[in-house]
């Protein structure tokens, strides 16, 4: 029963990791950009939520109404103003520029908010739980988070395959120059892709901030979790990232159950195992 509970918690945690991964996967799919600052942007979203909650006195989940558009705006501006200039055949510029961005965001937050860890309080919902019988119980908040993750990924899937914008995303993904010939403005499309990616990041950041303590330095670890979920699930598959996130979450939960020091290590080992046995991931779609 203990183990069943552990696995259940791991699955729910996996929803959050899937959200870290979905934003990363989306922009890689559209413009072959790996955003090393992704994790720090998640933390930035958490701090924007913190400021919103403190200024307006609203529940963190309500703050999403402000954080999501704010992050989407930052994403569009970042892409048009900076990241579009790095795209091309050369691997170095996007990697190094987003790496520099990661260091800038991390140290900027450190300067503004100090290294003290903080947490958002979502009120009574935090301690509410649903009894499943047989001694099993799930927290309402983790369940809500998981539901949100599924909804976000479902929404992205719909956007990608059922809308005109999704068609534009897939077109630029397949061949940038042909997409441009067909009248698409790639710079704008990329801006929108980054805006959507950071809107997802905003949701993930708020959920992270409600779930646990955070401080400016935790971004890179979130990037790594998202990245591992992407690789486990298979590049370019959105539902794959959900499975990848769940596998990672369960591995970490089992590791933590065995020995607290094995929490993160178990997750990394699950990732390395998939890389060794099935390097294209469990549900591969596009070739990187």
């Amino acid at each position: 029963m203990q183990w069943l509970n552990t696995i259940l918690q791991g699955i729910l945690l996996g929803g959050l990791y899937a959200m870290f991964a979905a934003g990363l996967s989306l922009i890689f799919g559209v413009m072959r950009l790996v955003n090393i600052a992704h994790g720090d942007l998640i933390v930035l979203a958490a701090y924007i939520a913190l400021v919103t909650v403190q200024a307006l006195g609203v529940n963190p989940l309500v703050a999403l109404i402000i954080v999501v558009p704010a992050m989407a705006g930052i994403g569009y501006a970042l892409q048009r103003g900076l990241l579009n200039r790095t795209l091309g055949d050369d691997l170095l510029p996007p990697l190094l520029v987003t790496f520099g961005l990661s260091v800038i965001i991390q140290n900027g937050l450190l300067e503004l908010f100090t290294a003290d860890s903080v947490k958002l309080n979502a009120g009574a919902i935090e301690i509410a739980s649903i009894q499943l019988g047989g001694g099993l119980a799930v927290g309402t908040l983790p369940l809500l988070q998981f539901g949100l993750a599924v909804a976000v990924i479902g929404g992205l899937q719909w956007l990608f395959y059922r809308t005109a914008l999704g068609r534009a995303f897939r077109a630029t993904s397949d061949d940038q120059s042909v997409a441009q010939l067909m009248g698409l403005n790639n710079a704008h499309i990329f801006g929108l892709a980054m805006a959507i990616s950071l809107a997802v990041v905003a949701v993930a950041g708020v959920l992270l901030a409600v779930r646990a303590n955070f401080d400016p330095s935790i971004g890179p670890a979130r990037l790594i979790f998202g990245f591992e979920a992407v690789i486990i699930g298979g590049l370019g598959s959105l539902w794959g990232t959900l499975v990848g996130g769940i596998i990672l979450g369960v591995a970490q939960a089992i590791g933590a159950q065995l020995d607290p020091g094995w929490n993160l290590l178990a997750g990394h080992l699950a990732f390395l195992l998939v890389l060794a046995l099935k390097p294209e991931g469990l549900f591969p779609k596009v070739q990187g």
Binding site: F28, R32, L33, V34, I36, L82, R85, T86, L91, L92, P93, P94, L95, L96, V97, F99, G100, L101, S102, V103, I104, Q106, N107, G108, L110, E111, P220, A221, L223, I224, F227, E228, I231, L235, G261, L264, L265, H268, L269, F271, L272, L275, A276, P279, Q287, G288
Partner: protein
């Protein structure tokens, strides 16, 4: 009539003389510099070495790793383990640590090379995290809290404190010179021609019959060897080690990347110029704390976008200078 390949030009002849004079002056530093300056110089040598190795990896072989702290930390931990647990003399332990790290890097590379291009970068970071977490599980070296070298080990380097500092200083200088020398030698060899071709156009290199995958593999393992030895010496000088300092992404990767990018990636002089700029900035801006890193990150982004070849790239393009005799010019006729 014969055709020769000429490596040097007038600027590199001057350059080699300058480098030789600088080497003699720096080797004599214990006689003219005070203790704090010696420590600073040793740190500069370590960064020149680390940045040159990263430049070889990312600038030439196209393997953009953000996880080289894995090998700095691995080398450092191997040194501490060899010296404290196996009783090996610390100076002997440095090359053993490098060799062991190189052996470990072979299966690591096999796994990491399954990740294409961009994802290799983050994969290398995961590997560094795995190493860090494993190091904090080693209870013989006090796990997560870290440990210090016992006095007996420190005394075995040299009995007087002054002599110890001199010995470590000279080894740091020798190490940086040896690594730079090895890179110059490598770039002048036929592998260097292949590496330069890979740097300029990987697809073109492959279509000219270069075994790109094998060369990348060799470079990765060689860089792991060098990086681990530098890491071992850095922490021999620090005497104290902990997983967070030994596997620090800021100290051993962010700084190293910024140095290389600002100095000029894909050129051997770049990391040297970058290290000088980095330490000048640090000496003037270090009081600013987090803001200093923020400025450094911003400068690196601007350089990457506006002058992707870095400071030395601008100079070399403008004046045609090279410090080390690396270029290849065909000369007709006998000497």
């Amino acid at each position: 009539m014969t055709v020769r390949v000429e490596h040097s030009n007038p600027s590199s002849r001057v350059g080699v003389v300058i480098v030789a004079v600088a080497f003699v002056l720096l080797a004599a530093a214990p006689w003219w510099a005070e203790r704090a300056s010696l420590r600073l110089l040793a740190e500069i040598y370590a960064y020149v070495a680390l940045a040159s190795l990263w430049n070889l990896l990312a600038g030439y072989a196209g393997l953009v790793s953000v996880g080289q702290q894995a090998y700095v930390g691995l080398g450092a931990y191997l040194l501490f383990a060899l010296a404290m647990l196996a009783g090996i003399h610390p100076l002997v332990a440095i090359p053993i640590a490098g060799f062991t790290a190189a052996v470990i890097s072979i299966p690591v590379a096999a796994l990491m090379f399954r990740l294409r291009g961009h994802y290799f970068a983050i994969g290398s970071w995961v590997m560094a995290e795995v190493f860090r977490l494993l190091a904090s599980q080693v209870s013989a070296l006090d796990g997560g809290s870290g440990t210090s070298l016992p006095a007996a080990v420190v005394l075995s380097i040299a009995s007087s404190r002054q002599m110890r500092e001199f010995v470590i200083y000279w080894i740091a200088l020798a190490q940086a010179v040896a690594i730079l020398g090895a890179i110059v030698w490598l770039l002048r060899s036929r592998y260097g021609l292949a590496l330069t071709a890979i740097r300029d156009n990987e697809l073109g290199a492959r279509s000219n019959g270069i075994d790109v995958a094998r060369i990348k593999y060799v470079v990765y393992v060689a860089v792991a060897f060098g990086t681990a030895m530098v890491g071992a010496l850095i922490f021999l000088q620090k005497i104290r080690i902990s997983p967070d300092t030994a596997f620090s992404v800021n100290d051993w990767t962010a700084f190293v990347i910024f140095i290389t990018v600002i100095g000029g990636i894909g050129r051997i002089e770049g990391p040297i110029v970058g290290t000088v700029v980095f330490f000048l900035l640090r000496q003037t801006l270090a009081d600013l704390g987090a803001i200093y890193l923020l400025i450094l990150g911003a400068v690196a982004i601007v350089v990457m976008l506006k002058a992707p070849k870095g400071i030395w790239g601008l100079i070399a393009d403008r004046f045609g200078w090279q410090v080390f005799p690396l270029e290849r010019r065909l000369v007709m006729g006998d000497r």
